[in-house]
């Protein structure tokens, strides 16, 4: 496992920012790290990068324990913090040259040009960072994180402030990077998770509330499958009971019903039901729980 976090805890005074969390990220995986503000995402990421020392538990990257003094492990991590701090009074290339010097890169300018190309900084690369728009600053932040070709990328809200076109480009870049690197990506934007991540970990109040594939999570949460059906004529409420595997239903419009069943087979049984009642199905869709919905359900539970 590229990143392995086990039983990690961090307290700030009496407040438990992170409370006994464990998860793993494999090589070539993009893990979405979700949670409301103040859930402990940034604290966890800071601990993974070695900026904060954990109170309990440990983090390993490629099998080596992360600690503040382990400079070799720090060289394998690329980090883009929240709010993307940059030296505003430096030029883009000057800044990247400085970063390259810290990592002691062998052919700095070659790599800098490469990274400028990858992040699409091209025309802006001779400007002062202060004069760049937020989207371009974000690209500089991403460029400095990948400059030394790290194995592990920690991106804290990497795509904030980008316009829709930039968003597509940067997502594509992250997806490409994810093929060979391990990426831990925190975000608030749900489409991002759906677009990029293989797996999500949802954290709330310092505790992991869900970990897994998005589709699996949605089925588990909904406790079954929902289908939305439009029939040719109204159906009397009690007759729905005749559907095999039926659990509940609600009316969502004229002749339009949302039926929830226990298993995936609900689609077939609704069809059989319609045939037996001589109803015509005008429309039928399987509803999946959206990530937003999962997120809301998991993070607003009264604890």
């Amino acid at each position: 496992m590229s990143i392995s976090v086990s039983n990690l805890s961090k307290h700030f005074g009496p407040q438990k920012a992170v409370n006994d969390i464990s998860f793993q990220v494999g090589k070539g995986e993009i893990l979405g790290f979700l949670g409301p503000n103040g859930a402990g995402k940034t604290t966890t990421m800071r601990m993974i990068t070695g900026y904060l020392a954990p109170d309990e538990g440990e983090i390993t990257i490629n099998g080596t324990i992360v600690s503040e003094d382990n400079l070799a492990i720090k060289a394998q991590i690329g980090y883009l913090p929240e709010n993307n701090p940059l030296y505003l009074d430096m030029y883009v290339r000057e800044y990247l040259r400085y970063v390259a010097r810290i990592y002691k890169l062998d052919h700095p300018w070659k790599r800098i040009d490469e990274v400028i190309g990858m992040t699409g900084l091209g025309i802006e690369s001779h400007k002062l960072i202060r004069t760049l728009s937020k989207g371009y600053r974000q690209r500089v932040g991403l460029a400095q994180a990948i400059l030394h070709n790290p194995d592990v990328l920690i991106l804290d809200e990497a795509t904030s402030g980008l316009d829709p076109n930039q968003l597509i480009e940067i997502r594509q870049l992250i997806r490409d990077l994810g093929k060979e690197k391990t990426i831990l990506l925190s975000t608030h934007i749900m489409q991002e998770v759906q677009a990029l991540c293989d797996r999500v970990v949802i954290i709330n109040k310092g505790v992991i509330v869900a970990d897994g594939n998005i589709h699996m999570l949605s089925q588990k949460l909904a406790g079954g499958v929902k289908v939305e059906v439009v029939f040719s004529r109204p159906v009397a409420d009690p007759t729905f009971q005749e559907i095999k595997g039926y659990r509940s239903h609600e009316k969502s419009g004229e002749n339009r019903y949302i039926i929830s069943g226990e298993t995936d087979a609900i689609n077939e049984t609704v069809f059989d039901f319609a045939v037996s009642k001589n109803l015509k199905i005008l429309e039928m869709t399987t509803m999946r729980e959206s990530v937003e919905h999962i997120f809301q359900q998991l993070t607003t539970k009264v604890s």
């Binding site: 990068t49 900026y51 904060l52 991590i77 810290i102």
Partner: protein, 242 residues
């Protein structure tokens, strides 16, 4: 460490900071030494430049804190320190890199004042009738004093993310170290037993000792200890996080 040193030094010169501070130092020294009558070198009977070494520490008390206040405060404010600390550099490398950059600035600030020395050298009767050995020692003393003030400035800057607070704190500490111990040692009840010890805690005492032209290892040790202490405290401040 080299990367940090280069970046710091470049940032002094790409912004106006270095030009303004060096210019200010030269302007104030020039006025005091040549124009205003109180310390004017032209009115003293001997060809000497002692006045420069009396005035420069006073200017340094304000100038160096103004120069160093941003070293860590700015990085804390902008959170760039967080990124820096996650890179493969140790906190010591960061501190030493920044400290060496301020020392380089100090040398750059002091070199132009050699013009004043040269002028006095030429004004001597006959030209060159001047104690160059003592002047060299005084420059060395001034450099050490400046280095201590730089270390204090960095220390103050590492305590806060507010540059004004860092500035005021550094001025205060420099002042205490330069004058404070001397004043305290003059308190009547210390006279006779403790006054020499208290006075020797101040920079003033060691600075003047070196300025006489004798470089004593005790004075050197004092400067190195104070710098070491300030930088270690800085290290403690930036490595302990919440």
């Amino acid at each position: 460490m080299r990367a940090i040193y280069v970046r710091e030094l470049a940032s002094y010169f790409s912004s106006m900071i270095a030009y303004i501070t060096v210019g200010l130092l030269l302007a104030v020294l020039g006025l005091v030494l040549w124009v205003f009558p109180d310390f004017s070198l032209l009115l003293t009977p001997f060809a000497g430049i002692d006045a420069l070494f009396e005035i420069a520490p006073l200017i340094f008390i304000f100038l160096i804190p103004a120069f160093t206040m941003r070293t860590f405060a700015e990085e804390k404010q902008a959170a760039t320190l967080e990124v820096l600390l996650t890179r493969p550099v140790s906190a010591w490398q960061i501190i030493i890199g920044k400290f060496l950059a301020t020392l380089s600035w100090l040398i750059i600030a002091l070199v132009p004042t050699l013009i004043y020395v040269y002028s006095i050298y030429q004004l001597g009767s006959p030209p060159g009738n001047i104690d160059l050995g003592q002047i060299a020692a005084s420059y060395f003393g001034l450099f050490l004093l400046g280095a201590v003030f730089c270390a204090i400035g960095i220390l103050a800057s590492a305590q806060t993310s507010n540059q004004i607070v860092a500035f005021v704190m550094a001025v205060f500490l420099c002042f205490i170290l330069y004058y404070g111990f001397y004043f305290i040692s003059r308190i009547g009840s210390f006279s006779g037993n403790l006054d020499a010890i208290i006075e020797s805690l101040g920079i003033d005492y060691h600075y003047h000792s070196i300025s006489r032209g004798v470089i004593d290892t005790r004075d050197l040790a004092y400067f190195i200890c104070v710098i070491g202490l300030c930088l270690t405290w800085t290290w403690v401040s930036i490595t302990k996080r919440k």
